[in-house]
C-alpha cells in the first residue's frame, strides 16, 4: 500500500475572477510516505501536523515552506496497541487526534487515551482501558478536559487534572446504543456539543444538564463521519457521511428572511419550520421548540456517489474528500 500525507495549495485568493469564481485546481506541493491508513490529522501549529495511523503510530510531520518538503519530526510508535506491545501485529488503529499546542491527545481502537506533549519522547499520561469499546473521536472541552465518543453510544468527559482513570461524566443516547463516530464542541459556548452516529443521526447535547441529548436530528442515511461547527460562525454546522452527502446546517437569522418556497438552483434545501426568532440569548442549537426555530439544511454535493470521509471548514472555505479519491474545495461558502 502506498499511503501518503500531502500538502496542497488551493491557489491564491487574488485569483478570483469577476464573479468571484475560483480559477485553477488545487495542486500538490509536497508529500511524504505514511505507514498505514491516515485515520485522523490536525495541525499542531503553522508548520507541524499530527497524523494518526491505522498501525497505532502517531507522527508529527513538519512542513518546510522554504523548500516545500515534508519530514517526519517525531513519532510515537505503538501509541495504540492490543494486549501486548511487543507482538508485531498487536497494533491498534489510532482513530482520533486533537491538538492544543503543545498538548496532543489521541484515542484508538484499543480504548486507550494518550496525552502527549510535542517535545517529549514519552507519553505524559496514558489511560489504559479507558473504555471497553473503541473510542472513535476526541475533542477538547476545556484546556484540561476532553470529550470522547465510543462505539456503544457514550459521550464521556475526562478531567486530565485528576489522576483517577475514570471519566468525570458519562452521557448516553436514550434508545439503542448506536455507536457515535464524531464529536465537536461549539467554539464559543462550551456547553454545546454535537455528535454524529452510525445511523447518521446528529445529536446536540447540553452538558450542563442531563445525561441525554437535547435534540436528535435525523440526518444522513449512513454513518456520519465528521461534524464541525464553523470556527468563526458557529451558527453553521457541517456534517459528512458514508452516504455521500455533505450537509450544511444553518441556524443563522438570515435564513429566516428568505421566503420558504425559494428553491436554490441546484441545491436541495429542507426547512424545519417557518417563523423568526430573536436568537441573541439562547443558542439556536439548544432551542428545542420547533415553532420558534428555523434551520436551513442544504446538501452541498450535487451528484453523490461514494462516501465523504472528511471535511474541514475555515472562513469562507470548505474542503472535503471522498472515497472516489477526489478532494473538493469550495471557496465561496456563504456567497
Amino acid at each position: 500500500q502506498d499511503n501518503r500525507v500531502s500538502i496542497w495549495s488551493a491557489g491564491d485568493l487574488g485569483n478570483a475572477g469577476l464573479n468571484g469564481e475560483y480559477h485553477g485546481e488545487p495542486h500538490l506541493l509536497c508529500d511524504i510516505q505514511h505507514n498505514g491508513d491516515v485515520m485522523d490529522m490536525q495541525f499542531l501549529d503553522q508548520e507541524r501536523m499530527v497524523v494518526a495511523s491505522s498501525t497505532g503510530t502517531v507522527t508529527i510531520f513538519r512542513h518546510h515552506q522554504n523548500n516545500q518538503t515534508l519530514s517526519a519530526n517525531h513519532q510515537w510508535e505503538k501509541a495504540h496497541y492490543h494486549v501486548d506491545q511487543d507482538t508485531s501485529c498487536g497494533g491498534a488503529a489510532c482513530t482520533g487526534v486533537v491538538c492544543n499546542n503543545p498538548e496532543i491527545v489521541t484515542v484508538g481502537e484499543d480504548g486507550r487515551i494518550n496525552l502527549f506533549r510535542a517535545d517529549q519522547r514519552d507519553a505524559v499520561r496514558t489511560i489504559d482501558n479507558a473504555d471497553s469499546s473503541t473510542l472513535h473521536a476526541v475533542t477538547f472541552l476545556r484546556t484540561t478536559e476532553i470529550l470522547t465518543v465510543n462505539s456503544i453510544g457514550q459521550l464521556k468527559i475526562w478531567d486530565l487534572r485528576q489522576q483517577r482513570n475514570e471519566p468525570s461524566q458519562i452521557f448516553s443516547l436514550a434508545g439503542d446504543r448506536v455507536p457515535l463516530h464524531c464529536v465537536d464542541r461549539h467554539p464559543n459556548q462550551q456547553h454545546i456539543v454535537a455528535t454524529g452516529g452510525q445511523d447518521g443521526m446528529l445529536s446536540i447535547w447540553d452538558i450542563r444538564q442531563g445525561t441525554m441529548p437535547v435534540s436528535l436530528l435525523n440526518a444522513h442515511e449512513a454513518e456520519m463521519w465528521e461534524v464541525h461547527f464553523h470556527p468563526s460562525d458557529p451558527e453553521h454546522l457541517f456534517t459528512c457521511s458514508e452516504d455521500g452527502s455533505l450537509w450544511h446546517w444553518d441556524t443563522s437569522t438570515n435564513a429566516s428572511e428568505k421566503p420558504s418556497f425559494l428553491h436554490q438552483g441546484g441545491r436541495t434545501t429542507a426547512y424545519l419550520s417557518h417563523s423568526t426568532i430573536n436568537q441573541s440569548v439562547v443558542s439556536a442549537w439548544l432551542s428545542n421548540d420547533p415553532t420558534k426555530d428555523r434551520m436551513e439544511i442544504t446538501n452541498l454535493i450535487p451528484n453523490q456517489t461514494l462516501s465523504v470521509n472528511s471535511l474541514d471548514v475555515l472562513g469562507p472555505c470548505l474542503v472535503y474528500g471522498t472515497d472516489a479519491e477526489a478532494i473538493y474545495v469550495n471557496r465561496q461558502l456563504f456567497s
Binding site: 492490543h82 480504548g111 471497553s132 473503541t134 462505539s151 439503542d176 449512513a222 472515497d323 472516489a324
Partner: protein, 682 residues
C-alpha cells in the same frame, strides 16, 4: 468466449517439474514441486485466464518480475533442489498509480449513465449518450496528460519507458473510442460522417505537428524547406483555410506564380464540403461537387499548374488521384488518414455502409504488401466494417485490462446496439465484461469500492459475485469494516453482515475489547454472540470477584434485551449496585426474580444463592416468608437435580456452602415467621 489465449507463467518449466497451485482471493500461488515429470504428458499449467496478465509493452516478462522467489532446499530425494513459489496476479494495471484517476472518474461517468433517464427518446437520448462518450474520452485524455507529465518528470529510465508505453496505449484507446463514437454512438450519416472523420484524423495524427509549428513560426515560411510539406499536410487533412493562408505567403513572395496561385486558391475556396446544418441535401452536394471536380479536371488538363510541380500535385490531390495522395505517405503516416483523405476528395458523401470497402482497399494500398497490419489496424478495420463484436473481441485480446472493453460495451449496450449475444454460461457480453473488470478491481485494497457499483448493475450474476468478493476484503480497521457492512446492509446481504460482524466481534474478544465485541453483536443482532460475551463477563466476575468494564454493563440500555444472558448480566450488576447502595429489600427482590423467572443460567444459581447469604445474615429481616420458601425451593432444585454431580460431592467448599445456606435459610424463616406473626405495637 475464449477471448484470452492460454498463457504460461514465465520462469516456470512445466516440462521439468510438476507444479501445484493454490487459489487465493486475488492471486494464484504456483509452486514447483520436488517431483519430476514422468513421461511426456502435456503440461498442466496451460490454464487460461486469470493465470497471467500481460504487462503492457513488456511481453510476458511482467509477472516474473513480480513473482516471489524463495528457495526451499529439497528433502529426501537425492540432490537438493530449490523450489520457487510464484505469485501470479491478474490485473497488474490497477496498481499503476496514474491510472487510478481513470478508474475513479470513469466510475462516476458509468454511474451517471446507469442512472440517466431512459425515457428520453430519439435525438435527445442520442445527444446524451454522445456526451457520455465524450466524457469518457476526456478522462482518457486527462490521464494521458498526467502520464505524460510523469514520464517527463521522472528520472528513472525504466519508469520513463513504462509511462511512455502507457501514454501510447491510452492514445490508441482514445483513437479507437473516438471512432466508435462516430460510427456507433453518434451513428453519423453520410455527409456529417466525413466531417467527423476529418476531425478524428486531425486530432489523432500528430506526428506532423512539430513540423507544422516549425514552419509557421519561422520568419519567412515560404522559404522554409518544409513549406510545401506543411501545405500538403493541410490539404490532406482538408484544412483548406490554413492551406490557402500559407499559399498566399508563397504567392506574395513569388509574383510570377500569382496567376496559378489565384486559380488554385479559388478552387480550394469553392470546394463543396458537407455542411453541419441541414442547409443542403446530399443530392445537392453531390451535384455541386461533381461540377467542381470537373472544373479542377479542366485546369489540370489545360496544364495550368504544369510549371509548378507542387501546385500540380495539390491539384491532383484535389481530384482524388490515389497515386498523388499515396506519394505523400510519410505526411499521412497511417492508412486511416489515407482513407479519410481519399474519401474527402473522391467520395465526400460516403455512406456508413460503404466505409468497409474503402477501408479495406485503403489499408491494402497504403501498406502495399511491405508491412502487415498491426492489432490496432485490425481493430480499426473491424470498426469500419461495423463489426462491433469483433472490435470488442480484438480489444480484449490486445489490452491487458478490462477497463476499455467493459465501459465501451456498456455504452454500446445503452445505445441498444448489441443484440443479446448470449454466452454459453448465460450472461450477455456486457455483463461478462463488467464482471471481469469489477472482479479485477476487488483485488485492490482500495478500488474495490468502485467494483461494488459495477456489480450492482449486472443483473444476472452481479449479486453473487459481490457476495463472494465482499467477504474477502481484508478488514484492517474498524472503519473499513463499517464501510463493508454498510454496503452489505444496503443490499440486504444478511449472511455477509452476520459473518463480518462475527469476525470483528471475535477479533475484539481476543483483544479483550468486550465493549467493541458487544457493539458488533448488537449491529448484527447476534444473540448467540451476545450470550458468549456475557458468559465471558460472568466468568471474569467469578474469577476475580468484581466486574470489569463497568461503564459498559451499567449502560447497556435496551440492548440488554438482545440475549437472555445479557439481560441477566445487566440485572445482576444492578443487584450489586442496589446492594452497594444498601437498598436491601429491592436487591433481595431482584435476586429472587433472577432465579424464579429463570433469567439466570442454572450454572450461576449457586453464586446467586451465595450472594443471598449476606442478605440473610443481616440484623434486619429482609426476605419475607414467601421469599424464603422460594429460596429454599431453588436450593433444593439445585442440589436435588444433580445428586451425583461430582462438583457437590468432591468439593468441600461447595458442600459447606450448601450447609451454610440451609442454615441461614432456616434461621431466616424462623425469624420472619415470628416477625410476620407479631402484631405491631403490642
Amino acid at each position: 468466449t475464449d477471448t484470452v489465449p492460454p498463457q504460461v507463467v514465465p520462469g516456470v518449466d512445466p516440462s521439468a517439474r510438476q507444479l501445484c497451485f493454490a487459489w487465493g482471493p486475488a492471486e494464484v500461488l504456483v509452486c514447483e514441486t520436488l517431483f519430476d515429470r514422468a513421461g511426456g504428458s502435456r503440461s498442466r499449467c496451460r490454464s487460461r485466464s486469470p493465470c497471467l496478465s500481460r504487462f503492457w509493452g513488456e511481453g510476458g516478462a511482467g509477472a516474473a518480475s513480480r513473482a516471489l522467489t524463495g528457495s526451499v532446499a529439497g528433502t529426501g530425494h537425492g540432490a537438493p533442489s530449490s523450489s520457487r513459489v510464484f505469485v501470479v496476479r491478474r490485473d497488474q494495471d490497477i496498481y499503476i498509480q496514474t491510472l487510478r484517476k481513470l478508474f475513479n472518474e470513469s466510475h462516476g461517468i458509468f454511474m451517471g449513465l446507469q442512472r440517466s433517464e431512459e425515457e428520453l427518446a430519439g435525438k435527445s437520448r442520442k445527444a446524451q449518450l454522445v456526451q457520455v462518450s465524450k466524457n469518457y474520452r476526456s478522462v482518457i485524455r486527462a490521464c494521458m496528460e498526467d502520464m505524460h507529465e510523469a514520464a517527463v518528470s521522472t528520472r528513472d529510465p525504466a519508469l520513463q519507458g513504462q509511462y511512455s508505453t502507457q501514454v501510447s496505449i491510452l492514445s490508441a484507446m482514445e483513437l479507437i473510442w473516438n471512432l466508435c463514437e462516430i460510427l456507433f454512438v453518434e451513428a453519423a450519416t453520410a455527409g456529417p460522417l466525413l466531417l467527423r472523420l476529418l476531425d478524428w484524423v486531425r486530432l489523432h495524427v500528430c506526428d506532423v505537428d512539430s513540423m507544422v509549428r516549425e514552419v509557421l513560426s519561422s520568419e519567412s515560411p515560404s522559404k522554409h524547406k518544409l513549406f510545401w510539406n506543411v501545405v500538403d499536410v493541410f490539404v490532406l487533412q482538408g484544412r483548406m483555410d490554413e492551406a490557402r493562408h500559407l499559399l498566399s505567403k508563397e504567392a506574395s513572395a513569388n509574383p510570377t506564380s500569382m496567376n496559378m496561385y489565384k486559380i488554385l486558391d479559388d478552387l480550394m475556396k469553392k470546394m463543396p464540403v458537407p455542411s453541419t446544418g441541414n442547409t443542403q441535401t446530399l443530392t445537392e452536394l453531390e451535384l455541386k461537387w461533381q461540377h467542381w471536380h470537373e472544373e479542377c479536371q479542366r485546369y489540370l488538363q489545360d496544364g495550368t499548374f504544369a510549371s509548378n510541380p507542387h501546385m500540380e500535385s495539390i491539384c491532383k490531390i484535389l481530384l482524388g488521384d490515389e497515386d498523388a495522395i499515396l506519394e505523400k505517405k510519410e505526411l499521412m503516416t497511417t492508412w486511416y488518414h489515407f482513407l479519410v483523405t481519399r474519401l474527402l476528395y473522391s467520395h465526400p458523401t460516403v455512406k456508413p455502409v460503404e466505409l468497409r470497402f474503402y477501408a479495406q482497399s485503403s489499408m491494402d494500398l497504403f501498406l502495399g504488401g511491405e508491412s502487415s497490419p498491426e492489432p490496432l489496424d485490425m481493430i480499426l478495420m473491424a470498426a469500419f466494417e461495423f463489426e462491433m463484436h469483433q472490435v470488442i473481441k480484438e480489444c480484449s485480446i490486445v489490452l491487458s485490462n478490462w477497463w476499455f472493453v467493459a465501459h465501451l460495451t456498456d455504452l454500446l449496450d445503452h445505445c441498444k446496439l448489441l443484440q443479446s449475444h448470449n454466452l454459453y454460461f448465460g450472461s450477455n457480453m456486457r455483463e461478462f465484461l463488467l464482471l471481469e473488470y469489477a472482479s479485477g478491481l476487488f483485488s485492490h485494497h482500495s478500488l474495490w469500492q468502485l467494483g461494488v457499483d459495477y456489480f450492482d448493475h449486472c443483473p444476472e450474476y452481479g449479486r453473487v459475485y459481490l457476495e463472494l468478493h465482499i467477504e474477502r476484503i481484508p478488514l484492517s480497521t474498524e472503519q473499513k469494516a463499517l464501510k463493508v457492512l454498510r454496503i452489505c446492509e444496503q443490499r440486504q446481504m444478511h449472511e455477509q453482515v452476520r459473518s463480518i460482524c462475527k469476525i470483528m466481534a471475535m477479533k475484539a474478544l481476543r483483544n479483550n475489547r468486550l465493549g467493541s465485541a458487544l457493539s458488533w453483536s448488537i449491529r448484527a443482532k447476534d444473540a448467540a454472540f451476545a450470550t458468549l460475551i456475557s458468559d465471558r463477563f460472568l466468568k471474569d466476575y467469578c474469577e476475580r470477584g468484581c466486574f470489569s468494564d463497568l461503564d459498559l454493563i451499567d449502560n447497556l440500555g435496551p440492548s440488554m434485551l438482545l440475549s437472555d444472558r445479557l439481560t441477566f448480566l445487566g440485572k445482576y450488576r444492578e443487584f450489586h449496585r442496589l446492594y452497594g447502595e444498601k437498598r436491601f429489600p429491592e436487591a433481595a427482590r431482584l435476586l429472587l426474580t433472577l432465579m424464579t423467572a429463570h433469567i439466570a443460567p442454572c450454572s450461576f444459581w449457586m453464586t446467586l444463592l451465595t450472594d443471598a447469604l449476606p442478605l440473610l445474615e443481616q440484623k434486619e429481616v429482609i426476605f419475607s416468608a414467601e421469599q424464603t420458601y422460594e429460596l429454599m425451593r431453588c436450593l433444593e432444585d439445585l442440589t436435588a437435580g444433580n445428586p451425583d454431580k461430582q462438583k457437590f460431592q468432591d468439593d468441600d467448599v461447595e458442600t459447606t456452602k450448601v450447609e451454610m445456606l440451609r442454615l441461614a435459610l432456616a434461621r431466616n424463616l424462623a425469624r420472619v415467621i415470628v416477625k410476620e406473626g407479631t402484631v405491631e405495637g403490642s
